[in-house]
């Protein structure tokens, strides 16, 4: 199997507003796939549909060949597909280490894992390694809500990795992060993809970031799929330039 996510003719309307119309996208396993498009073009709606936040009106969403469009959010998460939020969401009154420890996978939950002691063993070691990976190790005992916005985004990313997902859907990972941190973040996304084998599906407005990161990009406009191709093909596609990139 080469495609881990397969969208076929996915449509979703909010009342009279058609947010997605017949969108078909394939996300190849082990790769980084990008999703771009103007504001309001239906990118976040599509992410919400994939992870089960709202039922789609028609079409099919397959994860590892299995239809998931009728499953609920936590069920899909337990299959190994996670998303991060455009507005960062962390457990703001808990410290960073606790945020990480509770983010372990809940795929196979037993009484033993529910009542496992915390702050010791394999879980906390992995949590500390990942916090070090995103540069938050020294702040692991601080209340996460007191971190800067950029640091909270890094923590949310680390929490997602802690869950050991197969696919990670990232909604604007670099929005609100200062330019010097962005390069570090790109490197970490690539590392997560290459070394941890996590397939990434990324919404991004920063063209430098997405062109650098993704191997395949899809562009949405007015809820419809405009084009899909390599970064070069997308940059030179007249429809994409007209709708989104604009002439240089």
């Amino acid at each position: 199997m080469t495609n881990i996510i397969e969208l076929r003719d996915v449509s979703k309307a909010y009342g009279g507003v058609q947010a997605n119309t017949d969108v078909s996208i394939d996300v190849p396993v082990g790769k980084i796939t990008g999703l771009i498009g103007p504001n309001g073009s239906g990118k976040t709606t599509l992410f919400n549909s994939i992870v089960g936040y709202h039922p789609i009106d028609s079409g099919s969403i397959k994860f590892e060949g299995k239809e998931i469009s009728k499953l609920r959010v936590p069920q899909i998460a337990r299959l190994g597909m996670l998303r991060t939020f455009q507005q960062t969401r962390i457990y703001s009154k808990m410290n960073c280490l606790d945020n990480m420890q509770i983010s372990v996978s809940h795929r196979e939950e037993t009484a033993g894992s529910m009542f496992a002691p915390r702050d010791r063993g394999e879980i906390v070691e992995r949590a500390e390694r990942l916090l070090e990976f995103v540069g938050l190790y020294a702040k692991r005992r601080l209340v996460s809500g007191d971190l800067s916005f950029g640091q909270q985004k890094l923590l949310e990313f680390a929490m997602a990795l802690m869950n050991q997902p197969k696919v990670l859907l990232l909604d604007e990972p670099t929005a609100g992060i200062n330019p010097t941190l962005i390069n570090g973040l790109i490197d970490r996304l690539k590392l997560a993809n290459q070394e941890l084998g996590v397939t990434l599906f990324v919404i991004e407005h920063n063209m430098r970031v997405i062109m650098n990161l993704a191997e395949q990009i899809s562009c949405l406009a007015h809820g419809q799929l405009l084009a899909t191709g390599t970064p070069d093909e997308i940059q030179n596609d007249q429809r994409v330039v007209d709708a989104y990139l604009g002439a240089h």
Partner: protein, 361 residues
């Protein structure tokens, strides 16, 4: 803020030694106050178990008192039904004096307490399946409705005596012995519940409750079985509340639905106020709040009689409007480092790795 310990293990054990010492010596040194101290342990139990959902999970229940009443009635029915027909017993409104032998009384009491805990926990799961779809103030009002409805249902059920209540089997032996026995039960219950919660909050389960409190949608997006955690958390609270209700019913000797079994406006509110006063979402806050609240309550009843409800109401209002974080919450905000909330580069002063980390950032 996990609130597992205040400043470290040693302080905790000193507090335990003090509490247990007071628990053992209290009724010996102040025999006239045995019942008051017993109620203090009950208050600690109520506040601590309320905090499982209210503080740690962010589900402010106003209906936990329902489990207190359910346990009380479950125990009464078991204690009587073992040796007599419950309908006949209650229909006589205490006119039937059943002489329980010592073995019958204590056997019935033991079974009754066990049944109280189990029935309350089972009811909490059934109610939880209905009300855990509600959040925030809707959950609070929904659970309050459950408690009020339970009282009305019991009041209308003749089998258990309806609004007329039930005279409980009489404790054998002298009066002093019974109050010491019930004192001991509340003491053991409060301490064992506290130790169980201490352990619970030190596990992944405790983190899951906190995660639900901070952002339940995020917790679901991370794959947590949120409903499962909420049901188990509430069932633990209900189990202890059920047993506490059973002990309380036997201590009072006569139970009826509105004032004794389902006191929504007294104990039902007190347990919330106590947890808020001490600092909700912490292990020790409810304990501290319960002790302070109980002392203030007893003092106002003694020195401000006639105005005692006004004074207590004023305390609750000031607490909720100006001091929501409670005593321990305020302490954690003021001295975060003492609660373990600090920058820490590894503790062994390894400057080189700290520098690499900075560089990596």
């Amino acid at each position: 803020m996990t609130g597992v310990s205040m400043t470290g293990g040693r302080t905790d054990w000193l507090i335990y030694a003090g509490l247990i010492g007071f628990g053992l010596l209290g009724p010996v040194l102040f025999p006239a106050y045995t019942n008051q101290i017993a109620v203090m342990w009950l208050m600690i139990l109520m506040a601590s178990t309320w905090d499982v959902m209210g503080g740690q999970t962010g589900y402010n229940s106003l209906g936990n008192i329902a489990f207190f009443g359910i346990g009380m009635y479950a125990s009464a029915v078991v204690q009587i039904a073992l040796f007599y027909d419950v309908g006949e017993y209650t229909a006589a409104f205490g006119a039937i004096k059943v002489d329980f032998t010592d073995a019958q009384y204590f056997g019935g009491l033991a079974l009754g307490l066990g049944a109280a805990g189990i029935v309350a926990a089972v009811v909490s799961v059934l109610v939880g399946l209905c009300v855990f779809g509600l959040r925030g103030p809707y959950f609070a009002i929904g659970t309050l409705g459950v408690a009020v409805a339970m009282a009305e249902l019991i009041a209308g059920w003749d089998y258990v005596g309806g609004g007329g209540g039930i005279s409980m089997p009489v404790f054998p032996g002298e009066a002093g012995a019974s109050s010491l026995a019930f004192y001991a039960m509340f003491f053991v219950l409060a301490i064992s519940a506290h130790l169980l919660l201490r352990w619970l909050y030190s596990t992944q389960f405790g983190l899951a409750l906190n995660a639900i409190r901070d952002d339940e949608d995020k917790a679901e997006a991370m794959g947590l079985h949120t409903l499962r955690y909420k049901l188990i958390g509430w069932a633990i609270a209900a189990f202890f509340m059920g047993i506490a209700g059973a002990v309380f019913g036997n201590m009072i000797g006569f139970i009826e639905p509105l004032e004794v079994a389902f006191p929504t406006t007294t104990f039902g509110i007190f347990m919330v106020a106590m947890a808020l006063l001490g600092g909700k979402g912490t292990l020790w806050g409810p304990v501290l709040g319960a002790i302070l609240f109980h002392v203030v309550k007893e003092l106002t009843w003694t020195y401000l009689l006639g105005w005692q409800w006004v004074a207590l109401g004023a305390l609750i209002i000031v607490n909720i409007v100006y001091f929501q974080q409670g005593i321990l919450g305020w302490a954690a905000d003021t001295w975060p480092a003492a609660f373990g909330l600090k920058v820490d580069d590894g503790g062994n002063g390894d400057a080189s790795t700290a520098k690499t980390r900075e560089a990596a950032e």
